[in-house]
Each structure stands twice: as structure tokens, then as C-alpha cells.
């Protein structure tokens, strides 16, 4: 039987510290390692997750029904153009975005992003097929989607794998923004004029680079970092 020297309360034989004041319990006449049963179990419990299967089935049915109905209407009633492709494409995108949220929640974010990109590309191709012109798809649509997906994957990779703080995320974000604008102007110019010249994107990139340099300076100087943290904490 031990008492806390600080609080004067009796402690459980298994206690190594006083739960009230954290003072260690040392009993000079009883120094052998105590293997007493504790009054509370040691294992932590996990909260059971809610299965969203029903919601997944419901949303899938809604999306599927919309797509099929439009397809049938297009095939038999309003037969003028292939307008249903626009609706079906949107349904495909919605369903693909839905997968990680309600259907398979363990899907990694990298795979989800790839699937989202693929879905958008399929949609763009459907539009190209619908209007019977696909040069813009190969020249502009597909490269831009690929570029955006590539940048998002890199951004997620940086945020997940590299040390993360408010400043580093801002750094990745501004870098990604600069690269996105440069890529966009490059691809657009290439498609329209056949040659690339950087104009507006260069301005955006300059601003982003200045911000980046400022952030890197803050990150590399501990004193500055602490100063910012001290003055801006909320």
C-alpha cells in the first residue's frame, strides 16, 4: 500500500506515478518490479466505422439511371445529335469522384487522382467525338489534363512525404501554381501559333518565385521562423 507524498492519497498497487500530480511512487522497502493487475485494461478500443454501402449503392443507382435514361432517350426519341454523351460523361466523372468518398474509402489518393484525370479525359474525348472534331482534344485537352494531373500528384507527394507545415505547404502550392501557368501558356501557344512564347505566365511565375524565395528564407532561418510564429500565432 503506497501513498502519494504530495497529495496524501492512497494509490493503487499497480501505480508507478500519482495520477493527480505525477510524482513517482518509490517505496524503499518494496523495490522489486511490480507486476500488479491494473484497475483498467491496457488495450485501447477503436470506434467502429459506419459502412456507407447503402449510400454508395443509392448514389451509383442515381448516376447510372441518369446515364441510361439519357442514352435511351437519345437513341430512340431525340435522335438529332449525340447530346447524351455530354450527360453520360458527367455521370462517369461524378461516379469516379465518388469512389474514394463512399464506395472504396481505402483507395490511395494517388490512384484516385489518376482515375479522376482519366475520367475527365474520357469526357473530353466524348465531346470531341460528339462534335466530330478531335484536333483540339489531342493538341490542347489531353496535354492540359495530363499536366494538371502530374502537378497534383507531385503536390500531394510533397505534402505527404516531405516535412509539412503551413509554410512548406504554401511553398509547394506557389511552385505548383507557377508551373501550372507556364505549362498552360506553353500548351495554348503551341496549339494556336505553333510556337511557344511566355508572356502573362512569366509575370505570374515571377511573383510566385519571389514568394517562394521569401518562404525559403523563412524556412532556412530558425530565428526568422520563430519570429513569424511568435507574431502571427492565433
Amino acid at each position: 500500500m503506497s501513498y502519494c507524498v504530495n497529495c496524501g492519497v492512497e494509490l493503487d498497487p499497480s501505480a508507478k506515478n500519482c495520477p493527480l500530480c505525477n510524482t513517482p511512487v518509490i517505496n524503499p522497502s518494496d523495490l522489486k518490479t511490480r507486476q500488479q493487475p491494473t484497475p483498467f485494461p491496457k488495450e485501447k478500443g477503436q470506434v467502429e466505422t459506419v459502412k456507407r454501402k447503402d449510400l454508395g449503392i443509392l448514389l451509383s443507382t442515381v448516376v447510372l439511371a441518369t446515364a441510361v435514361t439519357c442514352g435511351i432517350l437519345n437513341a430512340f426519341v431525340f435522335q438529332g445529335t449525340l447530346w447524351s454523351l455530354a450527360v453520360i460523361g458527367v455521370c462517369v466523372i461524378l461516379w469516379v469522384i465518388m469512389i474514394p468518398v463512399v464506395i472504396y474509402t481505402k483507395q490511395s489518393i494517388y490512384v484516385s487522382l489518376l482515375f479522376d484525370g482519366a475520367a475527365v479525359m474520357v469526357y473530353l474525348y466524348m465531346i470531341a467525338y460528339m462534335i466530330q472534331r478531335d484536333d483540339w482534344f489531342y493538341g490542347l485537352g489531353m496535354p492540359i489534363v495530363l499536366w494538371v494531373i502530374f502537378l497534383s500528384e507531385c503536390f500531394v507527394l510533397c505534402v505527404r512525404k516531405l516535412p509539412r507545415s503551413f509554410l512548406t505547404v504554401a511553398l509547394y502550392l506557389f511552385t505548383a501554381l507557377a508551373l501550372l501557368c507556364l505549362g498552360l501558356e506553353f500548351l495554348i501557344d503551341l496549339y494556336l501559333d505553333g510556337q511557344a512564347a511566355f508572356q502573362w505566365s512569366a509575370i505570374v511565375a515571377t511573383v510566385c518565385v519571389i514568394v517562394d524565395i521569401a518562404i525559403i528564407t523563412l524556412l532556412s532561418r530558425r530565428r526568422l521562423r520563430n519570429e513569424v510564429r511568435r507574431r502571427l500565432h492565433f
Binding site: 497529495c7 492519497v9 492512497e10 494509490l11 493503487d12 485494461p41 478500443g45
Partner: protein, 431 residues
């Protein structure tokens, strides 16, 4: 069970309406009642006892469903609830759709059986009925046939009395005037929030006769005395911490209305009173705090004031304009009101279940009872008191790392000459 004999759904009672709207990913209004027996628990027999006992309590063998305007309870015939080994962090959130939609859980650990229930099913008294009936059935299955029914132990062979399932608030919400609710910002305990899934428990175990003697010295009852000690602990904490200005310190204390209004209901039938002191008026000595709490209780705890309180609470639910508002808007408004007003109205919670009585035949098998108020809504500590025979247990449940309030509380008891034994699930920090 023939069709149509039992009702197939129940309206939520007046307090039960609030608890589901406060449901968050990391918060459910879950409380825990546990009993320490004198022998190790046999989980297989316990499961059998649960299966036999729970059908007697239709409002506990239930699931919460959403209607367009209100939530309601629906009998739940899915398999379960299954007894499970106890965990270090009890009173975890209960999601309405998880756990086969059951809102009760039964745990066992060494000699202990613990019942956790969502507050929207019923209050501590109702839960105690379920727990004691379960323990009686369990002990009878082990061969202790002599245990009789009576008190909290209900006869599982009989159909439930309709009065056990009623919303007793509505029967007594008939005062002619609606007294205003108290609304004052009180002192908030500041502390470092523990991560989700952690509940810090500190149990203090002492002798009823010792506490009674000390309380008598202050001319107070045990509840008043312990209330005063908690107020004293909170006042000390406020004083020692850094603060811009002092705030009044108040305790939210549920009152069991069955003491004042006869009802056999097993659902919620409690209301809150807020004993407190205001340090801005000057420094209180401990004796003055006791007097203040004592007088407050004498003044407010009577049938008339409590009837007014029930009427105020029921008025919102009876208002036809409020009734037709869709549930999600109600949820939003209630949650806002709760976080902005109700939750700030008290610095800590304290509940006293009083002396638990069990049938004579069951007495030799029971060591003591514990009750926990569960995860606090905001970062603070909640205190629950229960006594059995000569053992009084004070159970603190908090979601913050600092144990200052608990320390001041128990040190005060020790300095008043009470012998306190402490048990805790807190992690041993080696610094």
C-alpha cells in the same frame, strides 16, 4: 411476440432530443455504469444474460432513426449487442449506424461488468435498472437462484409496464408560467486537449461514513459537501491560472425528477440545476461555499421550481411553429444554442446517483459501483458520485491532460481527514 402487441416506434423524450443533435465524430452523449463483482466474469454466461435481459427493455434494445421533423426510436432486432472485453478508453462515441445500430454496449474486465448507453435512450436511473437486472440474471445463471426481484431489478418474465416507456416530462410540464433559463458565461477550465479516443479517468474511493461525518461537521449533506469541494477546486484552479478577469464558477448538476414526480419511466427524467459561487463578489472561504451550495439546494430543489423548469423546456417542443421546421434546421439551431449558451453555462458537471440499493440476495456478490459521465462536450472534467454499502466512489472523466481540478479536489478531501484511494487509467508519463 405477436405482431401489434408492442409499439413499433417511440418518440424521443424531451432531453433525448438534444443528445443526438450534439453528435459529432468525436463526441456522443454516452455514459457508463459499471459494477465490480467479487468473482471473475464469465463472458459466455454474461452474453447469455444480455440476450435474456435486453428484450425486457424495449427502449434500450432500440435504434435511432431520422424522421423528417424529429428523430425516433425503433425496436432493433438485429443480432447483438455482443459483450466485449473492456478497453482503456471507455465512453467512445457511438455512431447511430455502427454496432448493428445498438446504442448500448456491455464490457467486461476481470471482476467488472460495464454498461455504456447513449443518453438519448435513458438517464442513469434507467441505465441502472438495465445493469442491475442484467447482473441479477447473470448471477442467477451462475447458480445463485436466491436473488429476488425488486428495486432496480425488474422481472424479465413480465411485459414492460407502459409507464416505464413513457415520456414523463410531458405529464408534468403544466406550470402556468415559464421561468427563464439561466444564461451566464462561466469559468472555462483551460487545458491541453487529449487526442480523440482518449478519456482520462481518475477514481477516488472512500468510506461513506467518513464523508458523512465530515459533511455533518459543515452542516451539509454529502452531495452539498462534495459540490462545495468541486466548486472550491474550480475556484482554486481559476485563481492559480492566468486569467484576464474572474468569472463565476458553476456546476451543472442533474436532478433525478423521480424523487419529486412519481414515475416509473426508464427513459430520461432529469433536469439541471446550477449551484455556483461568484468570485467577483469577493473571496469565499470553504465554509461560505458550503453554506451557499446548501442554501441554493434548499431553495431550488422543490417540486414547484422543478415543474417550472420542465415547463420551460417543454414549451419549445410543444410550439407548433417549431415542430414543423425540418430536422436539419432544428439540429443546426439546437447545436448553436448548446455550444454558445448551454455549454458555457457551467464550469463542470457533477452528478450524484446517491446510495445504490440492491436486493438483499444480490448484496454479497457486489463490491462496488462506478459511474462515469463520459466524454465532456468541451474540454473540461466531469464528476460522478455513487455509493454502495460503505464505499463511496467519485469518478472524474476528462478529456484534458492536466489533472489540476482533480488534484485540488482530492487534496481538499484528504486535508479534511478523509482517506482517499485513487485509481486511474492515465498513462504513466516518464519525464
Amino acid at each position: 411476440m405477436e405482431k401489434g402487441v408492442r409499439r413499433d416506434w417511440y418518440k424521443l423524450d424531451l432531453s433525448a432530443i438534444v443528445y443526438p443533435t450534439l453528435q459529432r465524430r468525436d463526441f456522443s452523449s454516452v455514459y457508463r455504469l459499471s459494477v465490480l463483482l467479487k468473482e471473475e466474469i464469465d463472458p459466455r454466461v454474461l452474453q447469455q444474460a444480455v440476450d435474456m435481459t435486453l428484450p425486457r427493455f424495449p427502449t434500450y434494445k432500440a435504434a435511432i432513426r431520422k424522421g423528417l421533423f424529429w428523430r425516433y426510436l425503433e425496436p432493433n432486432n438485429r443480432p447483438g449487442p455482443f459483450v466485449q472485453e473492456d478497453v482503456k478508453n471507455p465512453c467512445q462515441p457511438m455512431y447511430f449506424k455502427a454496432n448493428n445500430r445498438y446504442l448500448v454496449k456491455v464490457y467486461y474486465y476481470r471482476n467488472r461488468i460495464a454498461l455504456e448507453a447513449h443518453h438519448s435512450l435513458g438517464d442513469g436511473t434507467g441505465g441502472m435498472c438495465v445493469l442491475q437486472t442484467l447482473v441479477a440474471v447473470y448471477l442467477r445463471l451462475l447458480g445463485h437462484e436466491e436473488i429476488e426481484n425488486g428495486g432496480f431489478v425488474l422481472d424479465i418474465g413480465r411485459e414492460p409496464d407502459p409507464e416505464e416507456l413513457e415520456d414523463a416530462y410531458m405529464r408534468y410540464a403544466n406550470a402556468k408560467v415559464r421561468p427563464p433559463r439561466p444564461g451566464e458565461k462561466t469559468y472555462r477550465v483551460r487545458g491541453t486537449k487529449e487526442p480523440f479516443y482518449t478519456l482520462n479517468i481518475i477514481d477516488g474511493i472512500m468510506s461513506v461514513s467518513q464523508v458523512m461525518a465530515v459533511a455533518k461537521k459543515y452542516n451539509a449533506t454529502i452531495t452539498e459537501y462534495l459540490n462545495a469541494v468541486l466548486l472550491y477546486a474550480l475556484l482554486t484552479k481559476q485563481e492559480k491560472d492566468w486569467h484576464l478577469r474572474l468569472r463565476p464558477v458553476k456546476i451543472a448538476m442533474p436532478v433525478n425528477l423521480r424523487r419529486f414526480f412519481p414515475s416509473k419511466t426508464l427513459r430520461n427524467f432529469i433536469t439541471m440545476i446550477y449551484p455556483g459561487v461568484d468570485p467577483r463578489l469577493g473571496d469565499y472561504t470553504f465554509e461560505e461555499i458550503v453554506t451557499q451550495v446548501h442554501n441554493y439546494m434548499r431553495y431550488y430543489l422543490n417540486e414547484k421550481f422543478l415543474r417550472g423548469d420542465i415547463t420551460t423546456n417543454a414549451a419549445t417542443q410543444k410550439n407548433p411553429l417549431i415542430r414543423v421546421v425540418p430536422l436539419f434546421i432544428k439540429d443546426f439551431v439546437v447545436r448553436m444554442f448548446y455550444t454558445k449558451v448551454q455549454d458555457k453555462n457551467s464550469s463542470a458537471g457533477l452528478t450524484n446517483m446517491g446510495a445504490i440499493k440492491v436486493p438483499e440476495g444480490m448484496k454479497p456478490y457486489i463490491e462496488r459501483f462506478d459511474i462515469y459521465m463520459g466524454q465532456p462536450f468541451s474540454s473540461r472534467t466531469n464528476c460522478a458520485i455513487v455509493s454502495f454499502d460503505d464505499i463511496l466512489t467519485i469518478n472524474f472523466a476528462s478529456s484534458i491532460i492536466e489533472a489540476d481540478v482533480e488534484r485540488y479536489f482530492f487534496r481538499k478531501l484528504v486535508s479534511d481527514g478523509i482517506h482517499v484511494k485513487i485509481e486511474s487509467n492515465r498513462e504513466i508519463t516518464e519525464e
